[in-house]
Amino acid sequence: MWDYTEKVKEHFLNPRNVGEVENPDGVGEVGSLACGDALKLTFKLDEESRIEDVKFQTFGCASAIASSSALTELIKGKTLEEAENITNKDIADYLGGLPDEKMHCSVMGKEALEAAIENYRTGETVTHQMEGNVVCTCFGITDTEIEDVVRE
């Protein structure tokens, strides 16, 4: 059982900013079904080029949901430059920490944000691996490697 903090659980059970922004300025999609997670992020800017509204949808585990929710909270009201500087660690810190094995789940939100910003800047739709048979990258090493040799 993962050791989720209360904040992670709270964001998982009551995720903020779920859905799709209407007439978005930027759209980013990352992940794949094969991987067991996928994330779509949309945002809209105000007159001062700050993020006025941002929403997400995710097919992912509890950490992915909580991390996405945290990310949207973190970037609201920020400029794109400021938003780009937010790291996975910021997301994890905001949530009071994530289990080591689940750190990568916070990566997806950030990648979706980058994709959405790129989409805003270039007008191109950057869709990373939404379908297809991509092998899961969540788990860097294979079971056999772990079982073969126990190392510290």
Partner: protein
């Protein structure tokens, strides 16, 4: 309302009667059964009784039972023990849907010059018997195929498989960890050679199990040292645990009808209740040949861990894939072997009941689960349209 425990294929509650039976063997009768004094010897008598109770449940002779530290050890031992005793045969046959205790052990034999073959299953999780028949040959040392699958509950035709193995002189082992206590098992009328049982899956304690070895079947010891268990398995016996296992087997024998009537009725009610209220949901496995207590349901477009955590809020315990593989992020190897589409495999939930479950608990799950599914689908980029 208290915890609603629907994860009995992961582990079960130790029955009160089992714990009562174990109690005196910690602080009071703590002797070592190998000892040469009455104080130790008397514990040996209780172990004999425990062995008889286990033998009675599976219909064998007590001498055919060797106690172990659990299902995993029994599985590991059966495989390595037969291969070591049959050095001239170099083929090992298993299935793609075995528990890791079997599958990992089998795969670990490949680098030692073994030809390891994993038989396929179809979309209902049924074993490809034609493929099996083709693969089993004079070089085959062991066929190891589970009696019932832990994730879907699908029951395999073990007697038929044993026959196929024997036709080529191969030994047949079955991992019956999920079968024993849930469906009738009678080795006296069977041609299975080895069979693994785990205590904590049938309301016994964790950390004890047994391996049934038919008289005349030769296998090498796995845990080596002292002369315990007639020299078959070394190490001071977990006396209290094994006495508990014996009692659990006795209770299981008494309860096997309830398991197949009451537990089955509740399982069926849960299953049809959920399928009725949730769209894009379906049952995994062969519903016609299935353990009475298990249902694996896939809810498309959402992810299992998220479902489990939502259920956890209501103190409902279930599992996604098997407890042993959750923690890894890949969809279960069992569902993948069955070709369940990724969108569905990720969102599969296993409910496994026991005689301790009550009708109200099932009603509660049927009530709270559909909104949870709906809610999570609202978060999903794929599932918007679904209810």
């Amino acid at each position: 309302m208290d915890t609603i425990y629907l994860d009995n294929n992961a582990t079960t509650r130790v029955a009160e009667e089992v714990f009562e039976e174990m109690k005196p063997y910690f602080t009071e009768y703590y002797g070592n059964p190998s000892s040469m004094h009455t104080f130790g010897g008397q514990v040996g008598g209780k172990l004999t009784e425990a062995r008889e109770r286990c033998a009675s449940l599976i219909g064998c002779d007590p001498s055919e039972i060797t106690f172990t530290s659990g299902g995993t050890e029994s599985d590991n031992w059966a495989i390595s023990g037969i291969l070591a005793a049959t050095p001239n045969r170099r083929k090992l046959i298993t299935s793609r849907v075995e528990h890791p205790a079997v599958l990992t052990m089998c795969r670990s034999m490949a680098p030692h010059g073994y030809n390891v073959v994993e038989i396929d299953v179809d979309e209902k999780g049924r074993l490809d018997l034609d493929q099996l028949e083709k693969e089993v040959d004079e070089d085959t040392a062991l066929v190891t195929i589970m009696w019932a699958n832990n994730e879907t509950g699908t029951i395999f035709p073990v007697e038929k498989i044993a026959e196929i193995a024997h036709n080529s002189g191969a030994v047949f082992h079955t991992d019956a960890v999920q079968a024993v206590g849930k469906i009738p098992v009678n080795m006296a009328e069977s041609n299975i050679d080895l069979l693994s049982v785990s205590g904590h899956k049938l309301h016994g304690p964790k950390g004890v199990g047994l391996l049934y070895v038919r008289k005349g079947v030769m296998l090498r010891p796995f845990i080596k040292g002292g002369h315990q268990e007639s020299g078959r398995r070394a190490g001071t016996e977990n006396t209290a645990g094994l006495i508990g296992l014996g009692k659990a087997c006795q209770l299981a024998e008494e309860n096997i009808d309830r398991e197949n009537r009451e537990v089955k009725r509740l399982r069926d009610k849960l299953e049809s209740g959920l399928l009725e209220k949730c769209s894009d949901a379906f049952v995994n496995g062969d519903s016609s040949k299935r353990l009475p207590n298990t249902t694996s349901i896939s809810f498309e477009y959402i992810e299992g861990e998220a479902i489990l955590l939502m259920l956890d809020k209501y103190q409902i315990c279930a599992s996604s894939g098997s407890a042993c593989t959750s923690g890894s992020l890949e969809p279960s190897h069992v569902l993948r072997a069955m070709g369940v589409p990724f969108t569905a495999a990720h969102g599969s939930i296993r409910f496994s009941l026991s005689i301790y479950n009550k009708e109200e608990e099932i009603d509660k799950v049927i009530e709270v689960m559909p909104p949870v599914i709906k809610r999570l689908r609202e978060l999903s980029p794929f599932g918007r349209q679904q209810k």
